[in-house]
Assembly symmetry: C3
Homo-oligomer: 276 residues x 3
């Protein structure tokens, strides 16, 4: 037995995800989220269940003021408008000026010219972390996606290379989430194998993960490992919620329960993080 | 046993709802929804559970671009603003120009002068389907509702006549949903008796049905029968979800589970569709 | 046995909460809510489950028209914009002009200068009820909050004094909700001890309570007692939902079920209301 919840012999001993979860809950960080309308409620509930304190503050008249007092900021481009984009930029600048971490979630940045423009603009404002799926990270990195003939392994390798390139450009961390997550600071990286196939069948679980990442960044001191821990925590909650779920509806309910129920010890034992 | 999930001796043999559900799931159509804030999350989850791919894209800067790549569009006037109305009109025009079906959901169109104006404007843009409750369809059709003395049977007959009149005017299909649903192309029609009294006790289930209708239209080839199948599918999921539900909260969760669980065979056996 | 659901020997015999719940359900009042994006869905479901009829109508083009036909109006400043503020002011003026009660929920009014300004402005428009937590009521009352050295008892006393001062200023009722709720008309008051610690772990349950207060005001005739009854009803549903809940996710689902399940008799027996 050790005096911490993380056993010393995990595959990625530097991450110590259990300790990071405990630290996040002890800090109960105030996380400001400018997110899309679809995600607002579930994201707030996910943050509350995990032990953080969410604030959904997006008005241009107050977003920058609030970013100065929050412990972290997250910005999601899922449902845009020009007013909101102005508010996002002001909030991101305020977070940076006050030394607060901020996270960009470039939802469907590849889908329209407007999203591509806004996504590139926000990515230029020094996000501490960009979290997206493979298509989003590749689109934002400017890398060409694998051709039709590319197999799944090639696609993963391409996405990871895109993440490193994007990280090098922004100077922040980049996370690609999917069946296996990958997070990198441009040089070092981790793969996280936690998760469950029901997770993408519930809307806004990716968006909500962005909030959880913000909470771990706010409370942590080693950002790359903070995010590896956040991703493992979220995936483990999904694995546990899937046990006994009767479909995506009951899974979504159990998932919120599990974000509250997973202990630091559970996470230390259940995290599947490997250096990459 | 037949080689399809639909038995040949149903009351409405042309509908083949099981086949239509299977076709929708095989296509997993991308359905763009411009809907109200109350409904966005549950509508996205309903579409995901049923097997479609939802996208909640409403910004004026991108709604028309997105309608060009989506397989269907749905527009709901539940929470309006002038910017959104402009976006709705652009998206509807784009859908029509690109040969994509689009569905209008005239929520509470009778309640204010603003809604009446916007509803009439959108109804003039060739919706493939208008889906509403009896009061909404009657208000949009311009028909006078039954007087205080009218009994329930008269009210149903009036709503069905209003639906046919509205269909004749727009050139599209019109569906009136309620305890028994009715769908018509102005000439032919079907009544669908599936459903459960708990459904109207959960907010946004009507709005979400509009999305499901869009998914069936996107994947189908006989619009009147596509909608009859969609209505039966939705109602059957409600009937199954009500079994064991402890109230509207647990019903809403089970309903999402059932949208995923109902098989084509279940629907072929459980659909209660009759020509009307 | 008496002929009403309220026993004559409760600590606050004038409240008769069971009768008030029965009256609200019999009236099924149409409650218009201008609320934040996070709360819209759960607030609508809470009102439906409790037996009222919610309408989420906030557009400037129609909010005042709708307030004229609704039975009550609630306004929540959780997610603001200048357009919405104009709509809120028009709706509040319309409600007052038409003799309809309206409720103000000053969410996080202390957090930014913009919120403070909007909160003060709306509080000046004769709200029938202001409902907030202690920090919100203190901020709006202009009272200084207790210093760091103040103990919990002092903080409660300060909040109750702030509520009375705010009530005297607005001429309406003020409710401070927390572990024990307090409601006052500036002179008389009640404390309500119902509730459960899981309630603040679910987002928007405070916002939704504002809607329930609107429903009880719409149906009642003694506003101070109407609100005491509404607070007891809501807290009792929370107590019952917590039995068997596996965490905040399943609690939130059971809570909606319980809003529908609590009977007037249950409330008469379970309400913990004392004059204060």
């Amino acid at each position: 037995m050790t005096d911490t919840p993380d056993a010393p012999d995990t595959a990625a001993p530097d991450v110590r995800p259990g300790e990071k979860l405990a630290a996040m809950r002890a800090a109960a960080p105030l996380v400001q989220n400018i997110t899309n309308y679809v995600a607002m409620n579930v994201m707030a509930n996910a943050l509350l269940a995990a032990g953080a304190s969410p604030a959904m503050v997006h008005a241009r008249e107050e977003s920058a003021d609030f970013a100065a007092i929050a412990s972290a900021l997250t910005i999601n481009i899922g449902t845009l408008s020009p007013e909101w984009v102005a508010s996002m930029e002001a909030a991101a600048a305020s977070a940076t000026a006050h030394g607060k971490p901020w996270v960009l979630d470039p939802v469907a940045v590849f889908a329209t010219a407007y999203r591509a423009e806004v996504g590139a603009q926000l990515a230029g404002l020094n996000p501490s972390l960009i979290r997206g799926n493979a298509s989003e990270i590749l689109a934002l990195s400017g890398a060409a996606a694998g051709g039709k003939g590319a197999d799944a392994g090639d696609a993963v390798a391409t996405a990871e290379a895109g993440a490193r390139a994007l990280s090098a450009r922004t100077g922040g961390i980049v996370a690609v989430t999917g069946p296996v997550d990958y997070v990198t600071d441009g040089t070092r990286g981790y793969r996280i194998a936690n998760g469950h196939p029901l997770m993408p069948k519930v809307t806004a679980l990716g968006c909500s993960l962005t909030g959880i990442c913000g909470a771990f960044l706010a409370a942590g001191e080693t950002p790359l490992e903070d995010i590896a821990a956040a991703l493992a925590f979220y995936g483990l909650a999904g694995e546990r919620a899937a046990q006994g779920a009767g479909g995506p509806g009951s899974f979504a309910v159990a998932f919120i329960d599990e974000l509250a129920a997973v202990t630091p010890e559970d996470l230390a034992a259940g995290a599947r993080i490997t250096p990459a």
